[in-house]
């Protein structure tokens, strides 16, 4: 993997996609899940992809993380073209370049919280002592100190998602992908995920988030609306107060 150590020129997008296509062939008519998507995500951006279920947004995220291969188009990670990568290469890159969190956490159920987080670090070749230090720091940061020896099934959904977040970030990947990370959490858990994603983003983490939840999406600074396999809109959210009445209008109590 000679290209891994080559210096990445400045301003290279963390992720770039051109003409991505993906069709699912199942029973019935072929489903065009992703129909020609061009996307560029720069270092430090927090991008949310929203849209109705079945719009293809999860498929898009799977293509970006190499969990599925496109039928057409190209994808670059840190300027490196991924088109020819086989599964083994993707598995390596998912440990190093990309962290992923899923709706249903996907933790290893018979491993402790500590082992779930340390595993990708060890697989990436980190010395055990360092893997442990990384794990301790992340779990403390995510408010999970004292839960190291628990099994995932003993934790609440919100706690499991925090463990999954620690696992995704343990190797400091340049890109974090999140697929409906609050999709199986209650309102409180959603707020928690939102707060944590914002916090990591403020520290410079690049994030691509897929969600149908507009509240979660509003934590991002760019929102892509996905319909029927295509980007219908790509909007930068402003920090500036919205025009006219804005939030005070929304919150107003009637006279």
């Amino acid at each position: 993997m000679s290209d891994a150590s080559a210096p990445v020129p400045e301003n290279t997008p963390v992720l770039r996609a051109e003409g991505l296509l993906k069709t699912h062939y199942g029973e019935g008519a072929p489903a065009h899940a992703v129909r020609g998507v061009d996307l560029c995500v720069r270092q430090g951006e927090f991008v949310a992809v929203t849209g109705p279920s079945g719009a293809g947004k999860s498929t898009l995220l799977h293509l970006l993380g190499g969990l599925q291969r496109p039928d057409g188009g190209s994808l670059w990670l840190d300027g490196v073209r991924t088109d020819g990568w086989q599964e083994a290469r993707w598995a390596v890159e998912r440990r190093r370049r990309i962290g992923i969190v899923f709706q249903f956490f996907n933790l290893v159920s018979n491993l402790s919280v500590a082992d779930n987080v340390e595993l990708p670090a060890l697989l990436a070749g980190l010395p055990p002592k360092q893997a442990r230090a990384e794990r301790e720091a992340l779990l403390a940061e995510l408010g999970l100190a004292g839960k190291e020896r628990s099994l995932p099934g003993e934790l609440s959904g919100g706690e499991q998602q925090r463990v999954a977040l620690a696992r995704a970030l343990v190797n400091h990947p340049p890109l974090l992908l999140a697929d409906e990370p609050a999709g199986s959490l209650d309102s409180k858990g959603t707020r928690e995920v939102m707060r944590l994603l914002s916090r990591f983003h403020q520290r410079g983490q690049t994030i691509v988030l897929v969600t149908h939840d507009a509240r979660l999406a509003s934590a991002a600074d760019r929102v892509i609306s996905f319909f029927d396999g295509r980007m219908a809109d790509d909007a930068e959210l402003t920090a500036a107060p919205p025009r006219r009445k804005g939030i005070s209008g929304v919150l107003e109590l009637k006279d």
Binding site: S218, A232, D233, R243, D255
Partner: protein
């Protein structure tokens, strides 16, 4: 603001500035700060309609202040207020009319209308999230107010999504 002021006076007499502070404390930064002039005007109206009564209290070094208390009629009005349920949030708004009339007029594109409206809602949603982060964690009432606003916006965004799904299918 008439009934909220009456409700604050149900605890006991208070003057205008106290009521302003009570409202601010209760609703936190989520609620646009009530302007004290507006409060005095409202208190004046409430007094005129016999729901409260004011009494001048002398202060040594400052002008008199007026301390208000609830009348029996005021208490009655409050009971009626709590008894009554409120109207549903609006279901038909100006945006809906634009969307409905865009094709006939030939002057606007429905999808473009939806996209623009969504951008505004998302920006407002973002401001609300920021407000929630900035608000004191222990002020539950303020957080519930913000969360309510967010859930309403969420519903509006979901509805925009439905509109877009339906209208894109026709294309």
């Amino acid at each position: 603001m008439r009934l909220p002021l009456l409700a604050l006076l149900a605890r006991g007499p208070a003057h205008g500035y106290e009521l302003k502070q009570d409202l601010e404390q209760l609703l936190g930064s989520a609620y646009p700060q009530p302007n004290v002039g507006q409060i005095y005007v409202t208190l004046g109206r409430l007094e005129k309609s016999g729901l409260i009564e004011g009494e001048d209290v002398e202060q040594s070094s400052r002008p008199n202040k007026k301390v208000y208390h609830l009348t029996d009629a005021g208490r009655e009005a409050l009971h009626a207020w709590f008894e009554e349920t409120e109207d549903e949030p609006r279901v038909r708004d100006e945006f809906f009319m634009k969307l409905a009339l865009a094709p006939q007029s030939g002057l606007a594109d429905q999808i473009a209308l939806i996209n623009r409206q969504r951008r505004q809602y998302l920006n407002t949603m973002r401001s609300l999230s920021k407000l929630a982060t900035a608000e004191n964690r222990d002020n539950r009432i303020a957080h519930l107010l913000i969360e309510g606003a967010m859930l309403h916006l969420q519903a509006d965004l979901d509805w925009l999504e439905r509109c877009q799904e339906e209208l894109e299918e026709l294309e």
